[in-house]
């Protein structure tokens, strides 16, 4: 599992990272009128095996150590670079994801690709396989450190706070009818609880209940809030709204019973299972509601020993 996830992250990074972020920016270049013989020093001093050919600001070709060797064998050291370079260029754009570059390396078998700025068409850098590996490793290390720091800080929070009683309160505002942001409190709370170091099973149960309670506010009320109180021994979530209230709580608890409007059901909400899901996930659930005033739902989750 751990191994799989590691590979997954690297693959993900190849989509996230852009060629421009990992390329080498300081490019050694050759001029078109430069004699091939001069490449020897250029390659040797800079420890490179090929270079883009640039005329003024424009990228016009690429010349490699192989081209140089051919010229050496043919006694053409005085010939200009222009005559021996590859003109039909395969380039990468700085804003392309790294995965495109990897595909290109596989397809063409070249050692490097010039990187061009898509807007100006000018040479922006050069990319070798080594640049990609370096870029990925750097990013992985940064990611890893950031998450470690988050986790460390968060998981020690209870130990570091000295008080007779410690409660952490997380409050999320929920807007009625805002289906586009619906579910954000649940996913954000889930991430936060995971960082705080709570067991995955508990986090899942809390997240399911939070999601359903949040949806109830979105579907039925104008606005409300999701508040989570985190105690050292348990988590309590509270969903409060100033909505229409529930007429018959017993009926509302029946699986499949829903008063959600048709258009909401078409989106896949309003299946009449929200409250049952909350009750099943939580260790305790208390539902209070007054018609015309609003609803207050509390659910408690104890930590298994």
């Amino acid at each position: 599992m751990g191994k799989d996830r590691g590979i997954g992250r690297v693959q993900e990074l190849t989509y996230e990272l852009k060629v421009g972020e990992v390329m080498t920016r300081e490019v050694i270049t050759a001029r078109p009128d430069c004699p091939v013989g001069e490449l020897r020093e250029l390659f040797r001093v800079n420890k490179i095996s090929g270079t883009p050919v640039v005329d003024g600001e424009n990228l016009v070709g690429i010349i490699s150590i192989e081209d140089f060797i051919k010229c050496l064998a043919g006694g053409e050291m005085d010939c200009s670079v222009e005559k021996k370079m590859t003109r039909k260029l395969e380039v990468l754009y700085a804003d392309e994801p790294v995965v495109h570059a990897i595909n290109k390396f596989e397809r063409y078998g070249f050692g490097r690709f010039p990187v061009v700025d898509r807007k100006t068409g000018q040479l922006a850098g050069i990319l070798s396989k080594g640049d990609i590996i370096r870029g990925l490793l750097n990013k992985l290390e940064i990611d890893y450190r950031e998450e470690e720091i988050h986790r460390y800080r968060a998981s020690h929070i209870f130990e570091d706070i000295l008080a007779d009683k410690t409660v952490i309160t997380l409050r999320y505002n929920v807007l009625g009818g805002d289906f586009d942001r619906a579910g954000i409190s649940a996913s954000t709370l889930k991430k936060t609880l995971t960082r705080l170091g709570f067991a995955p099973q508990v986090v899942r149960r809390v997240a399911i209940a939070t999601y359903e309670a949040e949806m109830n506010i979105v579907v039925f009320a104008e606005k409300g809030e999701m508040v989570s109180h985190i105690y050292p021994e348990y988590i309590q979530i509270q969903a409060k709204d100033k909505g229409p209230g529930i007429e018959d709580i017993e009926q509302a608890m029946q699986p499949g019973f829903s008063t959600a409007p048709e258009w909401v059901r078409e989106l896949g909400f309003g299946a009449g299972m929200g409250l049952c899901n909350i009750q099943k996930s939580a260790d305790e659930m208390v539902l209070k509601s007054k018609v015309g005033k609003g609803t207050d739902l509390q659910a408690t989750f104890h930590f298994p020993d």
Partner: protein
Amino acid sequence: MKLEEAVRELKMEVRSAAGNLSREVSGGYASDLLSDVMAHAGKDCLWVTVQLHQNIVAVAVVKELAGVVIVNGREPDSETLSRAEKEGVPILVTSLPTFEVVGRLYQLGLRGTASC
């Protein structure tokens, strides 16, 4: 089975989180009611649905699903996709209907998951 195998075998198109296809899929669940998925879909399972709304991403995150298959050639909008990309949830689309998709996944060895 890995998610990428399912993608390949059913010739599905990947619309988000293409870097997350090496995930292991534990089973499958098919439903268009979000609360039903919340109640019954198992961790790491592949969810087959016609729903396109952004909220499918929240459901997938909360239930830690391996991915979402959208059937009948329906196309999720860009908000759904950008949220899925951000959360790393693979969204796959296929022109096949649910019955066909589930049948083929079953043939590949995936079984239904049931959990709370």
